[in-house]
């Protein structure tokens, strides 16, 4: 070890901190040009916001990453939204009255295409340029539970209500306990529990339970589950309200948000999915525990 190493390695936390502060100005970093009229990030952001009509521009929702999308990853999100909108409308028109599933706010419909299996599978050829999310970091240094799934930014149960505008509801089941991480992104709150005995991890993601809560206004939104062959939907009762247990193959959730934009959410991160609405909130619970256990956890949510 040379003298420099020896002297640096011998510093206390405070001294090392001071040393690091002193080199801050030496760490190279880009500096945006802010000359009047320059296209700096602030200006580019403004132009993008304006071009989307000044409404919040919702980009694709978290798990999207083109997992089931058959037309390749290069499809522009806007075009993708249009195609999704058309698919959704055609399917809705075709089966409008045919299927009697009747949870207000949730409509389920079937599509013929076989969805591409999701996160743990290899991506379709068209998306090979965007390497599969975050599976890459070495297993010895995992991030916090859920950090691989683009759930938004990490928050806390106490901070969550100020972000979402609704009170956080959590399972009171002692086996489940408090979530390991809480994430917020694009109007959704997602609680993540790391896998452990009692909360198995069916997809080797390190996550044992995933619960999302988001506003799904009964009058203004609809939710569509685009279900391919190999997926089973079972209407169930969750605390007196109807919900759906979706098991089997990968599914894709398409819904129209409050601003009228089409959003999609394709994945299976943990296991099968239980989805239900209560009041103006929609809940989505993913678990590998099976239907009855999922319902039991769901009914413990307060």
């Amino acid at each position: 070890m040379n003298d420099i190493r020896r002297s640096l390695a011998g510093l206390s936390d405070d001294e090392l901190g001071a040393e690091l502060r002193s080199i801050a100005g030496w760490v190279a970093a880009p500096v945006p040009a802010t000359a009047p009229g320059s296209l700096d990030p602030a200006r580019r952001a403004r132009l993008r916001i304006e071009s989307s009509g000044g409404r919040p521009s919702r980009t694709r929702w978290p798990f999207g990453r083109g997992t089931w999308w058959p037309f390749g990853g290069a499809t522009r999100p806007l075009r993708r939204s249009f195609v999704l909108a058309i698919i959704a409308l055609i399917v809705l028109a075709a089966i409008a009255a045919a299927i009697g599933f009747g949870v207000p706010g949730i409509r389920l419909f079937f599509v013929g295409a076989t969805p591409t299996p999701g996160i743990s599978a290899s991506p379709p050829p068209g998306v090979s340029t965007s390497p599969s999310p975050s599976v890459s970091p070495s297993p010895s240094i995992p991030g916090p539970p859920g950090s691989d799934f683009d759930l938004g930014f990490m928050t806390t149960p106490s901070e969550a209500p100020t972000l979402t505008g609704f009170a956080l509801q959590l399972p009171t089941d002692p086996v489940v306990g408090p979530p390991d991480t809480v994430w917020y992104g694009e109007g959704r709150l997602t609680m993540v529990w790391a896998s452990r005995p009692g909360l198995p991890d069916a997809q080797a993601t390190g996550v044992g339970l995933l619960l999302s809560e988001f506003r799904g206004s009964l009058d203004r939104d609809f939710f569509g589950k685009m279900i391919g062959p190999g997926t089973t939907i079972t209407p169930v009762t969750v605390g007196g309200v109807t919900g759906y247990w979706i098991s089997g193959a990968m599914h894709d959730l398409v819904y129209i948000g409050v601003n009228g934009q089409i959003e999609n959410d394709s994945r299976r991160v943990v296991g099968d999915t239980l989805i239900w609405t209560r009041g103006d909130l929609t809940f989505r619970l993913e678990t590998a525990l099976g239907r009855d256990e999922a319902i039991r956890i769901a009914e413990s949510i307060r």
Binding site: E19, P30, P32, A45, S57, P137, G152, M154, L163
Partner: protein, 192 residues
């Protein structure tokens, strides 16, 4: 922005936020431009191999979408930086090749630096490279907490918001990160 009392900064932010919420996108542009330099720097520190300006732009668009839910009594800067950091992290995860932080060339010295003697300049340069190389060898979590506390000079509270972790965790995580940094420096194998 520097040199104005904090209260003034908060008041200016509050006014711009209110106007931005009212639909004045120009006010939003002005608001985020106030924090643009630190935002780009944050994006670069979190993902040195990504396009920091692009990540910042994307984060600004996302922050606009979330602005209605921003708590007016909270400081805006760390709230924004958290979104920037998150965006940069997401990009980092999809990058195939990792490049670490780099030092500016000596010629690029800040004008207010006094010209040191050649010998001490070389020594100081080696000291800096040793530190930066060791930081680059750390895992992301350690690098992030060191970067926000020392390279961005954020307070503990701001660091907590930016990293999305409790304040107490900042302290413990920083202490562990510094420990690992020392280990890294001490191990000769750290030389790139």
């Amino acid at each position: 922005m520097e040199g104005r009392p904090l209260e003034d900064e908060r008041r200016i932010d509050a006014e711009l936020i209110e106007r931005a919420r009212g639909g004045e996108i120009v006010a939003y542009e002005e608001l985020v431009r106030r924090y643009q330099a630190v935002a780009v720097r944050t994006a670069h520190l979190f993902a040195p191999d990504g396009d920091a300006e692009d990540a910042t732009q994307e984060a600004f668009v996302k922050a606009y979408a979330a602005l209605a839910r921003f708590r007016p009594d909270a400081p805006f800067r760390p709230w924004l930086l958290r979104i920037v950091a998150n965006e940069a992290r997401n990009r980092r995860r999809s990058a195939t090749r990792r490049t670490g932080l780099a030092l500016r060339a000596v010629e690029d010295r800040r004008p207010d630096d006094a010209a040191p003697s050649p010998e001490s300049a070389v020594l100081a340069g080696e000291r800096r490279s040793t530190l930066v190389n060791a930081i680059n060898a750390l895992r992301d979590e350690d690098r992030e907490v060191i970067a926000v506390r020392f390279f961005l000079d954020l307070s503990e509270a701001e660091a907590a918001t930016t990293l999305g972790i409790p304040r107490g965790t900042v302290k413990s995580r920083l202490s562990r990160a510094l420990g690992r940094l020392r280990d890294q420096i001490a191990s000769d194998g750290a030389e790139p």
